[in-house]
């Protein structure tokens, strides 16, 4: 068989042990597929979405209720975006739990963290683009949070909002960030991230002499598995989109409505919970940033994993890093569940 273009994107062979689902969880590859789905469905939505405070929510309603298959496109975009956060998180956990971040992969870990942050910003900006009554308070609190940062706070607020009142003027800013200023970096960093995997010697494995199982699989087999995963994830997306429509609420026009309870989008529920505890700068900015910094620094502050441990689940030599990331994950999960 002659390798085609897609085969050529892969190394000729890769170690069989590390190519298994139970090793990679397919998380990184799935994230790539979800980004492709997001790009395609996002471009389709752009044909109808109107980034104007008066019309935005109505155009979302038009996509959802009038445009043929508009509901499907929008729901696919929504579900792919939510799943992206989950699979990106799984990928990060997998990389730490299999000690795959050590030199020479430290730089690529940084690129991955950049993508991770961008994914959250994209999910948040996309959520705001609904511009219905549910998004006003998360938008107000999120942007006012920027203001609490000493020295650069006001500047960041202006950068994000482009006016005085978030629920009146932030839409065009968020639109441009979402469609272009965050998406383009994702594409560039994403390609770079994938390139660096090859440059750094492919998926993390112990040096040949220390490998218990020398078997390798060919790129044909690898591509076959990837296609299989794409089909499964694609089918799951369609099923989710048909069964669980993306949230939608009445248009936000004029003054925001009064509500008993305002909830952040699910991926920021933990920050909302933190904010209930006190000073917004400490709980809404410093603590989340400290957590992010801890994640970013994992490859730099902990001793590099032992060579025979690279690419093995829960190896002994990076216990500390595993404990730290587990604590962070549990902390965020508990806060999310407590916030009700």
């Amino acid at each position: 068989m002659r390798p085609n273009f897609f085969h050529h994107l892969h190394p000729p062979t890769i170690p069989a042990e590390q190519a298994r689902w139970r090793h990679t969880l397919g998380a990184g590859g799935t994230a790539v597929f979800l980004v492709l789905v997001l790009l395609v469905t996002g471009i389709l939505e752009m044909f109808y979405y109107v980034p104007n405070p008066q019309e935005a929510a109505l155009s979302v309603q038009r996509i959802t209720y009038h445009v043929p298959y508009g509901w499907l496109i929008r729901n696919l975009h929504y579900w792919a975006a939510q799943l992206l956060l989950i699979f990106a998180s799984l990928h990060l956990l997998r990389v730490v739990f299999t000690a795959a971040y050590g030199p020479p992969r430290r730089f690529n870990y940084l690129l991955g963290m950049g993508l991770f942050v961008l994914a959250f910003l994209l999910d948040f900006t996309g959520y705001i683009l609904r511009w219905d009554v549910e998004v006003c308070w998360p938008l107000v609190t999120g942007t006012n949070l920027l203001k609490t940062i000493p020295l650069i706070g006001d500047f960041l607020f202006r950068l994000a909002v482009g006016g005085e009142n978030a629920c009146e003027s932030a839409l065009l800013r968020f639109y441009t960030w979402h469609i272009f200023a965050l998406t383009l970096p994702v594409v560039i960093l994403g390609v770079w991230h994938a390139f660096r995997v090859r440059r750094d010697g492919g998926i993390a494995v112990p040096p040949p002499a220390l490998r218990p199982n020398p078997e390798r699989i060919s790129r044909f087999e690898l591509v076959r598995r990837e296609v299989q995963a794409m089909l499964i994830v694609g089918a799951a997306l369609v099923v989710l989109s048909v069964l669980f429509p993306a949230p939608i609420a009445p248009a936000m026009i004029g003054q925001p409505v009064l509500t008993e309870e305002a909830r952040a989008p699910w991926f920021f529920l933990w920050v909302q919970q933190l904010l209930k505890w006190g000073d917004p700068f400490v709980f809404g900015v410093l603590i989340p940033f400290a957590i992010l910094l801890a994640l970013i620094l994992i490859p730099y502050i902990f001793p590099p994993p032992a060579p025979q441990d690279v690419g093995r689940w829960f190896p002994p030599s990076n216990r500390l890093a595993q404990v730290v990331i587990t604590l962070i994950a549990v902390f965020i999960l508990v806060l999310t569940l407590v916030n009700r």
């Binding site: 107000v140 008993e260 209930k276 917004p280 809404g284």
Partner: protein, 139 residues
């Protein structure tokens, strides 16, 4: 002392100039993005004739947002912007409650439960010569 040869000097110069122009360009982009249009934010709200708000009335003015109170002492207005992160508080049992992170305020605007750290603001209210109620939210 080490001397700089011509090649190294030019290299340094090029690098320096490129960095400088990069910084200038970045600064320009940041300035460009930080523009805020002349505020259309209103510093005073004319609420119409004072007799629309009889003695003992409490009126929600959603556009500010504020609560206009008319009692024996005259007109008073309490800002409904939560001092924590700016959501609009709701009237609730025993005063006001914020929908975002659960701050509570008593009827005079004092914090009864965090995370808000400051009381709700009282706004200046006036009745002008024409007999209209004016609220000044900025002061």
């Amino acid at each position: 002392m080490s001397t700089l040869n011509r090649r190294d000097f030019l290299k340094l110069l090029t690098g320096g100039l490129l960095t400088l122009s990069g910084m200038l360009g970045l600064g320009a982009i940041l300035r460009f993005l930080s523009y805020t249009p002349e505020t259309v934010r209103r510093s005073q709200f004319d609420l119409g004739p004072a007799d629309r708000y009889p003695l003992g009335s409490r009126t929600l003015i959603a556009s500010i947002p504020a609560l206009l109170i008319h009692d024996e002492t005259g007109f008073r207005a309490l800002s409904l912007v939560c001092t924590h992160l700016g959501c609009t508080v709701e009237t609730a049992e025993g005063g006001f409650a914020c929908p975002c992170h659960g701050s509570r305020f008593d009827p005079s605007g004092q914090v009864t439960r965090g995370p808000a750290g400051a009381p709700l603001a009282w706004l200046r209210v006036e009745v002008n010569e024409a007999g209209n109620v004016i609220i000044y939210p900025e002061e």
